[in-house]
Protein backbone atom coordinates (compact mmCIF):
# COMPACT_ATOMS: atom_id res chain seq x y z
CA UNK A 1 0.00 0.00 0.00
CA UNK A 2 1.17 3.51 -0.66
CA UNK A 3 1.32 6.05 2.13
CA UNK A 4 -0.32 9.46 1.78
CA UNK A 5 2.66 11.11 0.10
CA UNK A 6 3.12 8.73 -2.78
CA UNK A 7 0.86 7.10 -5.32
CA UNK A 8 1.28 4.46 -7.97
CA UNK A 9 2.41 5.24 -11.48
CA UNK A 10 2.16 1.84 -13.08
CA UNK A 11 4.07 -0.40 -10.66
CA UNK A 12 6.31 2.45 -9.46
CA UNK A 13 5.61 4.70 -6.51
CA UNK A 14 5.90 8.40 -7.24
CA UNK A 15 5.15 11.51 -5.16
CA UNK A 16 1.44 12.39 -5.42
CA UNK A 17 2.06 15.80 -6.95
CA UNK A 18 4.22 14.29 -9.68
CA UNK A 19 1.83 11.63 -11.01
CA UNK A 20 -0.04 13.99 -13.33
CA UNK A 21 3.16 15.22 -14.93
CA UNK A 22 4.31 11.61 -15.49
CA UNK A 23 0.94 10.81 -17.07
CA UNK A 24 1.20 13.94 -19.20
CA UNK A 25 4.61 12.81 -20.46
CA UNK A 26 3.14 9.44 -21.46
CA UNK A 27 0.34 11.00 -23.46
CA UNK A 28 2.50 13.75 -24.97
CA UNK A 29 4.62 10.93 -26.28
CA UNK A 30 1.80 8.86 -27.78
CA UNK A 31 -0.74 11.57 -28.80
CA UNK A 32 0.08 11.74 -32.49
CA UNK A 33 -0.39 8.01 -33.02
CA UNK A 34 -2.90 7.34 -30.30
CA UNK A 35 -5.72 6.24 -32.62
CA UNK A 36 -3.51 3.92 -34.64
CA UNK A 37 -2.15 2.37 -31.47
CA UNK A 38 -5.63 1.90 -30.06
CA UNK A 39 -6.67 0.03 -33.17
CA UNK A 40 -3.58 -2.15 -33.13
CA UNK A 41 -3.54 -2.82 -29.41
CA UNK A 42 -7.18 -3.78 -29.14
CA UNK A 43 -7.42 -5.27 -32.64
CA UNK A 44 -10.10 -2.66 -33.33
CA UNK A 45 -12.32 -3.87 -30.51
CA UNK A 46 -12.11 -0.52 -28.70
CA UNK A 47 -14.61 0.78 -31.25
CA UNK A 48 -17.14 -1.80 -30.08
CA UNK A 49 -16.47 -0.95 -26.42
CA UNK A 50 -17.18 2.69 -27.22
CA UNK A 51 -20.34 1.82 -29.16
CA UNK A 52 -21.59 -0.10 -26.16
CA UNK A 53 -20.87 2.91 -23.95
CA UNK A 54 -23.03 5.07 -26.24
CA UNK A 55 -25.84 2.49 -26.07
CA UNK A 56 -25.74 2.50 -22.27
CA UNK A 57 -25.52 6.31 -22.09
CA UNK A 58 -28.86 6.63 -23.93
CA UNK A 59 -28.24 10.31 -24.65
CA UNK A 60 -31.08 12.21 -26.37
CA UNK A 61 -31.33 15.18 -28.66
CA UNK A 62 -30.86 18.51 -26.86
CA UNK A 63 -29.00 17.06 -23.87
CA UNK A 64 -25.69 18.20 -22.40
CA UNK A 65 -22.83 15.72 -22.29
CA UNK A 66 -19.42 16.00 -20.67
CA UNK A 67 -16.70 13.72 -22.00
CA UNK A 68 -13.80 13.68 -19.55
CA UNK A 69 -10.35 12.51 -20.64
CA UNK A 70 -11.99 12.44 -24.06
CA UNK A 71 -8.70 12.09 -25.90
CA UNK A 72 -9.18 12.06 -29.60
CA UNK A 73 -12.94 12.43 -29.36
CA UNK A 74 -14.34 9.02 -30.31
CA UNK A 75 -17.23 9.28 -27.84
CA UNK A 76 -17.71 13.04 -28.29
CA UNK A 77 -18.06 12.67 -32.05
CA UNK A 78 -21.00 10.28 -31.65
CA UNK A 79 -22.56 12.30 -28.85
CA UNK A 80 -22.36 15.50 -30.89
CA UNK A 81 -24.33 13.86 -33.70
CA UNK A 82 -26.99 12.65 -31.29
CA UNK A 83 -27.48 15.79 -29.20
CA UNK A 84 -27.83 17.94 -32.32
CA UNK A 85 -27.61 21.73 -32.51
CA UNK A 86 -29.76 22.30 -29.40
CA UNK A 87 -27.52 20.06 -27.32
CA UNK A 88 -24.01 20.55 -26.06
CA UNK A 89 -21.00 18.28 -25.85
CA UNK A 90 -17.93 19.35 -23.90
CA UNK A 91 -14.79 17.45 -24.79
CA UNK A 92 -12.09 17.71 -22.15
CA UNK A 93 -8.70 16.23 -21.52
CA UNK A 94 -5.97 17.07 -19.05
CA UNK A 95 -3.44 16.78 -21.83
CA UNK A 96 -3.18 19.68 -24.30
CA UNK A 97 -1.64 17.52 -27.05
CA UNK A 98 -4.48 14.98 -26.89
CA UNK A 99 -7.14 17.70 -26.74
CA UNK A 100 -5.70 19.43 -29.79
CA UNK A 101 -5.70 16.12 -31.66
CA UNK A 102 -9.32 15.59 -30.65
CA UNK A 103 -10.42 19.09 -31.68
CA UNK A 104 -8.70 18.85 -35.07
CA UNK A 105 -10.25 15.47 -35.69
CA UNK A 106 -13.80 16.57 -34.86
CA UNK A 107 -13.44 19.74 -36.93
CA UNK A 108 -12.29 17.58 -39.83
CA UNK A 109 -15.49 15.57 -39.43
CA UNK A 110 -17.48 18.78 -39.81
CA UNK A 111 -18.58 18.83 -36.17
CA UNK A 112 -18.49 22.29 -34.65
CA UNK A 113 -21.86 23.77 -33.76
CA UNK A 114 -22.51 22.09 -30.43
CA UNK A 115 -18.99 21.17 -29.34
CA UNK A 116 -16.87 22.93 -26.75
CA UNK A 117 -13.34 22.09 -25.66
CA UNK A 118 -11.62 22.58 -22.33
CA UNK A 119 -8.37 21.40 -20.81
CA UNK A 120 -9.66 20.00 -17.56
CA UNK A 121 -8.37 17.95 -14.66
CA UNK A 122 -11.19 15.53 -13.81
CA UNK A 123 -10.54 16.10 -10.09
CA UNK A 124 -11.43 19.80 -10.25
CA UNK A 125 -14.01 20.44 -12.92
CA UNK A 126 -14.80 24.06 -13.81
CA UNK A 127 -18.52 23.42 -14.37
CA UNK A 128 -21.55 24.44 -12.35
CA UNK A 129 -23.44 21.95 -10.18
CA UNK A 130 -26.18 19.95 -11.92
CA UNK A 131 -25.28 21.05 -15.44
CA UNK A 132 -24.91 17.85 -17.47
CA UNK A 133 -27.31 15.05 -18.41
CA UNK A 134 -24.48 12.60 -18.92
CA UNK A 135 -20.81 12.44 -17.96
CA UNK A 136 -18.46 9.89 -19.46
CA UNK A 137 -14.82 9.08 -18.88
CA UNK A 138 -13.38 6.59 -21.35
CA UNK A 139 -10.02 5.01 -20.54
CA UNK A 140 -9.16 7.97 -18.35
CA UNK A 141 -10.03 7.24 -14.74
CA UNK A 142 -7.06 4.95 -14.18
CA UNK A 143 -4.69 7.85 -14.95
CA UNK A 144 -6.34 10.17 -12.45
CA UNK A 145 -4.37 10.60 -9.22
CA UNK A 146 -7.37 10.91 -6.86
CA UNK A 147 -10.05 8.75 -8.42
CA UNK A 148 -12.57 9.22 -5.62
CA UNK A 149 -12.31 12.98 -6.01
CA UNK A 150 -12.92 12.70 -9.75
CA UNK A 151 -16.01 10.53 -9.17
CA UNK A 152 -17.34 13.05 -6.65
CA UNK A 153 -16.88 15.83 -9.20
CA UNK A 154 -18.66 13.78 -11.85
CA UNK A 155 -21.55 13.41 -9.43
CA UNK A 156 -21.58 17.13 -8.63
CA UNK A 157 -21.84 18.34 -12.24
CA UNK A 158 -24.66 15.91 -13.08
CA UNK A 159 -28.31 16.93 -13.08
CA UNK A 160 -30.64 14.84 -10.95
CA UNK A 161 -31.57 11.93 -13.21
CA UNK A 162 -28.26 12.23 -15.03
CA UNK A 163 -25.90 9.31 -15.41
CA UNK A 164 -22.17 8.78 -15.33
CA UNK A 165 -20.37 6.12 -17.31
CA UNK A 166 -16.86 4.91 -16.69
CA UNK A 167 -15.37 2.90 -19.53
CA UNK A 168 -12.12 1.46 -18.32
CA UNK A 169 -9.83 -1.53 -18.46
CA UNK A 170 -10.69 -3.91 -15.70
CA UNK A 171 -9.90 -7.40 -14.50
CA UNK A 172 -10.59 -10.49 -16.63
CA UNK A 173 -13.14 -12.79 -15.06
CA UNK A 174 -11.51 -16.08 -16.03
CA UNK A 175 -8.01 -17.32 -15.17
CA UNK A 176 -6.95 -18.59 -18.62
CA UNK A 177 -7.98 -15.30 -20.21
CA UNK A 178 -6.10 -13.38 -17.51
CA UNK A 179 -2.93 -15.37 -18.28
CA UNK A 180 -3.15 -14.78 -22.01
CA UNK A 181 -3.95 -11.13 -21.42
CA UNK A 182 -0.88 -10.69 -19.16
CA UNK A 183 1.32 -12.25 -21.76
CA UNK A 184 -0.14 -9.99 -24.41
CA UNK A 185 0.10 -6.77 -22.46
CA UNK A 186 3.61 -7.23 -21.07
CA UNK A 187 5.22 -8.68 -24.21
CA UNK A 188 3.25 -7.68 -27.28
CA UNK A 189 2.11 -4.19 -26.22
CA UNK A 190 5.52 -2.70 -25.39
CA UNK A 191 6.90 -4.22 -28.59
CA UNK A 192 4.09 -2.61 -30.60
CA UNK A 193 4.74 0.66 -28.77
CA UNK A 194 8.41 0.52 -29.68
CA UNK A 195 7.57 -0.13 -33.33
CA UNK A 196 4.97 2.57 -33.78
CA UNK A 197 5.71 5.38 -31.38
CA UNK A 198 9.33 4.41 -30.57
CA UNK A 199 8.24 4.40 -26.96
CA UNK A 200 7.96 1.05 -25.21
CA UNK A 201 7.94 2.60 -21.71
CA UNK A 202 4.68 4.46 -22.22
CA UNK A 203 2.94 1.26 -23.23
CA UNK A 204 4.49 -0.65 -20.38
CA UNK A 205 3.01 2.05 -18.15
CA UNK A 206 -0.42 1.48 -19.75
CA UNK A 207 -0.22 -2.26 -19.04
CA UNK A 208 0.93 -1.68 -15.46
CA UNK A 209 -1.62 1.02 -14.74
CA UNK A 210 -4.37 -1.34 -15.86
CA UNK A 211 -3.25 -3.90 -13.25
CA UNK A 212 -3.23 -1.23 -10.53
CA UNK A 213 -6.75 -0.03 -11.38
CA UNK A 214 -9.51 -1.09 -8.98
CA UNK A 215 -11.46 -4.18 -10.01
CA UNK A 216 -15.14 -4.15 -10.98
CA UNK A 217 -16.63 -4.48 -7.50
CA UNK A 218 -14.21 -2.00 -5.92
CA UNK A 219 -14.97 0.64 -8.52
CA UNK A 220 -18.68 0.07 -8.09
CA UNK A 221 -18.21 0.65 -4.35
CA UNK A 222 -16.26 3.84 -5.08
CA UNK A 223 -19.08 5.12 -7.28
CA UNK A 224 -21.64 4.38 -4.57
CA UNK A 225 -19.38 6.19 -2.06
CA UNK A 226 -19.37 9.23 -4.37
CA UNK A 227 -23.17 9.32 -4.12
CA UNK A 228 -24.19 7.48 -7.28
CA UNK A 229 -27.23 5.25 -7.12
CA UNK A 230 -28.27 2.16 -9.08
CA UNK A 231 -24.57 1.51 -9.72
CA UNK A 232 -23.93 -1.43 -12.00
CA UNK A 233 -21.24 -2.63 -14.32
CA UNK A 234 -21.08 -4.50 -17.61
CA UNK A 235 -18.10 -6.71 -18.38
CA UNK A 236 -16.96 -6.61 -21.98
CA UNK A 237 -14.56 -9.02 -23.67
CA UNK A 238 -14.41 -11.26 -20.61
CA UNK A 239 -13.83 -8.41 -18.17
CA UNK A 240 -10.77 -6.98 -19.93
CA UNK A 241 -12.90 -3.87 -20.08
CA UNK A 242 -15.87 -2.90 -17.94
CA UNK A 243 -18.41 -0.12 -18.18
CA UNK A 244 -19.66 1.18 -14.84
CA UNK A 245 -22.83 3.19 -14.77
CA UNK A 246 -24.39 5.13 -11.93
CA UNK A 247 -27.18 7.69 -11.65
CA UNK A 248 -27.58 10.86 -9.69
CA UNK A 249 -31.13 10.58 -8.42
Amino acid sequence: MSDDKTTHFGYKQVPVEEKSSHVRAVFDSVASRYDLMNDLMSLGIHRLWKRYTIELAGVRRGQRVLDLAGGTGDLASRFARITGPEGQVVLTDINAAMLTMGRDRLLDQGLAVNLLYAQVNAETQPFPDGYFDCVTIGFGLRNVTHKQKALAEMYRVLKPGGRALVLEFSHPTSQPLAKAYDLYSFSVLPALGRLITSDADSYRYLAESIRMHPDQETLRGMMAAAGFERCEYFNLTGGIVAIHRGYRL
Binding site: L48, E55, V59, R60, G84, G110
Partner: protein
Protein backbone atom coordinates in the same frame (compact mmCIF):
# COMPACT_ATOMS: atom_id res chain seq x y z
CA UNK B 1 -32.57 -1.73 -21.30
CA UNK B 2 -33.84 -4.10 -23.96
CA UNK B 3 -32.25 -7.53 -23.99
CA UNK B 4 -28.99 -7.76 -25.86
CA UNK B 5 -29.54 -7.98 -29.56
CA UNK B 6 -28.57 -11.24 -31.21
CA UNK B 7 -27.15 -9.10 -34.02
CA UNK B 8 -23.49 -8.70 -33.06
CA UNK B 9 -22.30 -5.13 -32.54
CA UNK B 10 -19.50 -5.69 -35.01
CA UNK B 11 -22.05 -6.49 -37.72
CA UNK B 12 -24.01 -3.35 -36.85
CA UNK B 13 -20.85 -1.26 -37.01
CA UNK B 14 -20.19 -2.69 -40.48
CA UNK B 15 -23.81 -2.08 -41.51
CA UNK B 16 -23.55 1.50 -40.26
CA UNK B 17 -20.42 2.11 -42.32
CA UNK B 18 -21.98 0.55 -45.42
CA UNK B 19 -25.23 2.52 -45.19
CA UNK B 20 -23.41 5.79 -44.49
CA UNK B 21 -21.10 5.21 -47.39
CA UNK B 22 -24.16 4.68 -49.56
CA UNK B 23 -25.85 7.80 -48.20
CA UNK B 24 -22.72 9.85 -48.83
CA UNK B 25 -23.14 9.14 -52.54
CA UNK B 26 -26.40 11.10 -52.53
CA UNK B 27 -25.53 14.40 -50.76
CA UNK B 28 -28.93 15.99 -51.43
CA UNK B 29 -30.68 12.98 -50.00
CA UNK B 30 -28.38 13.09 -47.00
CA UNK B 31 -29.32 16.74 -46.45
CA UNK B 32 -32.92 15.60 -45.93
CA UNK B 33 -31.69 13.75 -42.85
CA UNK B 34 -30.60 17.03 -41.23
CA UNK B 35 -33.98 17.92 -39.68
CA UNK B 36 -34.26 14.41 -38.23
CA UNK B 37 -30.85 14.66 -36.51
CA UNK B 38 -30.78 13.10 -33.09
CA UNK B 39 -34.26 11.54 -33.28
CA UNK B 40 -34.39 7.94 -32.13
CA UNK B 41 -36.15 5.52 -34.47
CA UNK B 42 -36.54 1.89 -33.43
CA UNK B 43 -37.42 -1.04 -35.66
CA UNK B 44 -38.73 -4.07 -33.81
CA UNK B 45 -38.74 -7.40 -35.59
CA UNK B 46 -41.84 -9.34 -34.62
CA UNK B 47 -41.22 -12.96 -33.78
CA UNK B 48 -37.58 -12.24 -32.91
CA UNK B 49 -38.17 -9.44 -30.44
CA UNK B 50 -34.91 -7.69 -31.19
CA UNK B 51 -34.65 -4.07 -32.16
CA UNK B 52 -32.51 -1.89 -34.33
CA UNK B 53 -32.11 1.75 -33.36
CA UNK B 54 -31.43 4.37 -36.00
CA UNK B 55 -30.23 7.84 -35.04
CA UNK B 56 -30.03 10.13 -38.09
CA UNK B 57 -27.38 12.83 -38.30
CA UNK B 58 -26.26 15.29 -40.94
CA UNK B 59 -24.18 12.71 -42.75
CA UNK B 60 -25.84 9.40 -42.07
CA UNK B 61 -27.12 7.12 -39.36
CA UNK B 62 -25.77 5.72 -36.18
CA UNK B 63 -27.17 2.21 -35.81
CA UNK B 64 -27.31 0.37 -32.51
CA UNK B 65 -28.68 -2.97 -31.38
CA UNK B 66 -29.78 -1.48 -28.07
CA UNK B 67 -30.23 2.05 -26.81
CA UNK B 68 -31.08 2.90 -23.27
CA UNK B 69 -33.78 5.48 -24.01
CA UNK B 70 -37.41 5.54 -25.14
CA UNK B 71 -37.53 5.85 -28.95
CA UNK B 72 -39.32 8.79 -30.62
CA UNK B 73 -41.04 6.29 -32.85
CA UNK B 74 -41.23 2.54 -32.95
CA UNK B 75 -41.99 0.56 -36.09
CA UNK B 76 -43.00 -3.00 -35.29
CA UNK B 77 -43.58 -5.71 -37.85
CA UNK B 78 -42.33 -8.94 -39.32
CA UNK B 79 -38.97 -8.69 -41.05
CA UNK B 80 -40.72 -8.87 -44.37
CA UNK B 81 -43.23 -6.14 -43.57
CA UNK B 82 -40.44 -3.83 -42.38
CA UNK B 83 -38.47 -4.53 -45.52
CA UNK B 84 -41.55 -3.76 -47.61
CA UNK B 85 -41.92 -0.47 -45.76
CA UNK B 86 -38.42 0.59 -46.67
CA UNK B 87 -38.22 -0.74 -50.17
CA UNK B 88 -41.63 -0.57 -51.76
CA UNK B 89 -42.85 2.56 -53.48
CA UNK B 90 -46.24 2.09 -51.91
CA UNK B 91 -45.43 2.12 -48.22
CA UNK B 92 -49.04 2.99 -47.49
CA UNK B 93 -49.87 -0.66 -48.18
CA UNK B 94 -47.74 -1.81 -45.29
CA UNK B 95 -48.67 1.07 -42.96
CA UNK B 96 -52.43 1.05 -43.48
CA UNK B 97 -53.01 -2.66 -43.72
CA UNK B 98 -51.65 -2.94 -40.19
CA UNK B 99 -48.64 -5.07 -41.12
CA UNK B 100 -46.39 -2.46 -39.53
CA UNK B 101 -47.47 -0.97 -36.24
CA UNK B 102 -46.26 2.52 -35.52
CA UNK B 103 -45.96 3.89 -32.02
CA UNK B 104 -44.97 7.45 -31.16
CA UNK B 105 -44.25 10.07 -33.79
CA UNK B 106 -45.90 8.74 -36.96
CA UNK B 107 -44.72 11.70 -39.05
CA UNK B 108 -41.16 10.82 -38.13
CA UNK B 109 -41.79 7.19 -39.13
CA UNK B 110 -43.14 8.32 -42.48
CA UNK B 111 -40.17 10.59 -43.15
CA UNK B 112 -37.76 7.84 -42.17
CA UNK B 113 -39.47 5.43 -44.60
CA UNK B 114 -39.50 8.09 -47.32
CA UNK B 115 -35.82 8.70 -46.83
CA UNK B 116 -34.88 5.04 -47.04
CA UNK B 117 -36.99 4.50 -50.15
CA UNK B 118 -35.91 7.73 -51.83
CA UNK B 119 -32.13 7.43 -51.75
CA UNK B 120 -30.83 8.18 -55.20
CA UNK B 121 -27.20 8.16 -56.03
CA UNK B 122 -25.74 10.77 -58.40
CA UNK B 123 -23.01 8.77 -60.08
CA UNK B 124 -22.15 11.67 -62.40
CA UNK B 125 -21.20 13.91 -59.48
CA UNK B 126 -19.03 11.15 -58.06
CA UNK B 127 -17.24 10.65 -61.37
CA UNK B 128 -16.81 14.41 -61.89
CA UNK B 129 -14.68 14.56 -58.80
CA UNK B 130 -12.19 12.38 -60.57
CA UNK B 131 -12.47 13.59 -64.15
CA UNK B 132 -13.91 17.14 -64.10
CA UNK B 133 -17.47 18.19 -65.00
CA UNK B 134 -17.31 18.16 -68.82
CA UNK B 135 -16.06 14.64 -69.20
CA UNK B 136 -18.27 13.39 -66.42
CA UNK B 137 -21.34 14.95 -68.08
CA UNK B 138 -20.54 13.43 -71.47
CA UNK B 139 -19.93 10.12 -69.80
CA UNK B 140 -23.07 10.55 -67.75
CA UNK B 141 -25.24 11.26 -70.84
CA UNK B 142 -23.94 8.18 -72.60
CA UNK B 143 -24.41 6.09 -69.55
CA UNK B 144 -27.93 7.44 -69.04
CA UNK B 145 -28.82 6.68 -72.66
CA UNK B 146 -27.31 3.24 -72.30
CA UNK B 147 -29.03 2.93 -68.98
CA UNK B 148 -32.44 3.76 -70.43
CA UNK B 149 -32.00 1.32 -73.25
CA UNK B 150 -30.66 -1.25 -70.86
CA UNK B 151 -33.47 -0.71 -68.39
CA UNK B 152 -36.12 -0.97 -71.12
CA UNK B 153 -34.54 -4.12 -72.44
CA UNK B 154 -34.18 -5.51 -68.98
CA UNK B 155 -37.78 -4.63 -68.15
CA UNK B 156 -38.99 -6.48 -71.22
CA UNK B 157 -36.67 -9.38 -70.61
CA UNK B 158 -37.66 -9.39 -66.96
CA UNK B 159 -41.36 -9.42 -67.80
CA UNK B 160 -40.90 -12.18 -70.33
CA UNK B 161 -38.80 -14.24 -68.00
CA UNK B 162 -41.18 -13.68 -65.10
CA UNK B 163 -44.14 -14.68 -67.20
CA UNK B 164 -42.38 -17.79 -68.41
CA UNK B 165 -41.23 -18.87 -64.93
CA UNK B 166 -44.52 -18.14 -63.24
CA UNK B 167 -47.19 -18.86 -65.80
CA UNK B 168 -45.73 -21.26 -68.33
CA UNK B 169 -43.06 -23.15 -66.43
CA UNK B 170 -44.90 -22.90 -63.09
CA UNK B 171 -41.43 -22.83 -61.55
CA UNK B 172 -41.93 -19.74 -59.40
CA UNK B 173 -44.93 -18.44 -57.47
CA UNK B 174 -46.57 -15.21 -58.53
CA UNK B 175 -46.42 -12.18 -56.31
CA UNK B 176 -49.94 -12.86 -55.05
CA UNK B 177 -49.13 -16.48 -54.30
CA UNK B 178 -45.96 -15.43 -52.49
CA UNK B 179 -47.73 -12.78 -50.45
CA UNK B 180 -50.49 -15.24 -49.65
CA UNK B 181 -47.92 -17.78 -48.54
CA UNK B 182 -46.08 -15.23 -46.37
CA UNK B 183 -49.35 -14.12 -44.81
CA UNK B 184 -50.15 -17.74 -44.07
CA UNK B 185 -46.75 -18.20 -42.44
CA UNK B 186 -47.45 -15.17 -40.26
CA UNK B 187 -50.92 -16.50 -39.46
CA UNK B 188 -49.58 -19.95 -38.66
CA UNK B 189 -47.05 -18.44 -36.29
CA UNK B 190 -49.77 -16.38 -34.58
CA UNK B 191 -52.02 -19.44 -34.39
CA UNK B 192 -49.18 -21.45 -32.92
CA UNK B 193 -48.62 -18.81 -30.26
CA UNK B 194 -52.35 -18.67 -29.50
CA UNK B 195 -52.52 -22.44 -29.24
CA UNK B 196 -49.54 -22.50 -26.89
CA UNK B 197 -51.22 -19.84 -24.74
CA UNK B 198 -54.46 -21.84 -24.76
CA UNK B 199 -52.72 -25.07 -23.76
CA UNK B 200 -50.94 -23.19 -21.02
CA UNK B 201 -54.25 -21.76 -19.79
CA UNK B 202 -55.94 -25.16 -19.87
CA UNK B 203 -52.99 -26.64 -18.06
CA UNK B 204 -53.28 -23.98 -15.36
CA UNK B 205 -57.03 -24.50 -15.12
CA UNK B 206 -56.50 -28.23 -14.77
CA UNK B 207 -53.95 -27.74 -12.03
CA UNK B 208 -56.05 -25.27 -10.04
CA UNK B 209 -59.13 -27.44 -10.63
CA UNK B 210 -57.42 -30.58 -9.41
CA UNK B 211 -55.94 -28.78 -6.41
CA UNK B 212 -59.35 -27.41 -5.53
CA UNK B 213 -60.82 -30.91 -5.98
CA UNK B 214 -58.28 -32.53 -3.66
CA UNK B 215 -58.40 -29.71 -1.10
CA UNK B 216 -62.19 -29.95 -0.77
CA UNK B 217 -61.88 -33.63 0.11
CA UNK B 218 -64.65 -34.70 -2.26
CA UNK B 219 -66.06 -38.18 -2.37
CA UNK B 220 -65.43 -40.80 -5.07
CA UNK B 221 -67.69 -39.08 -7.57
CA UNK B 222 -65.52 -35.98 -7.67
CA UNK B 223 -62.87 -35.44 -10.34
CA UNK B 224 -59.77 -37.69 -10.02
CA UNK B 225 -56.91 -35.97 -8.19
Amino acid sequence: MTPASPIPDAALAALETAINHYIALDPEGAARLGPLAGRLIALEFKGFGNRLYFIPGAEGFQIYGAYDAEPDCLLRGTSLALARLGLSRRKEDALFSGQVEVEGDTALAQRFGDFMAGLEIDWEEQVSRLTGDALAHALGSRLRAAGHWGRRSLDILGLDLKEYLQEEGRLLPTRYELEGFLDEVDRLRDDGERLAARVERLHRLLQTGSRAGCGAGQDEEGPPC
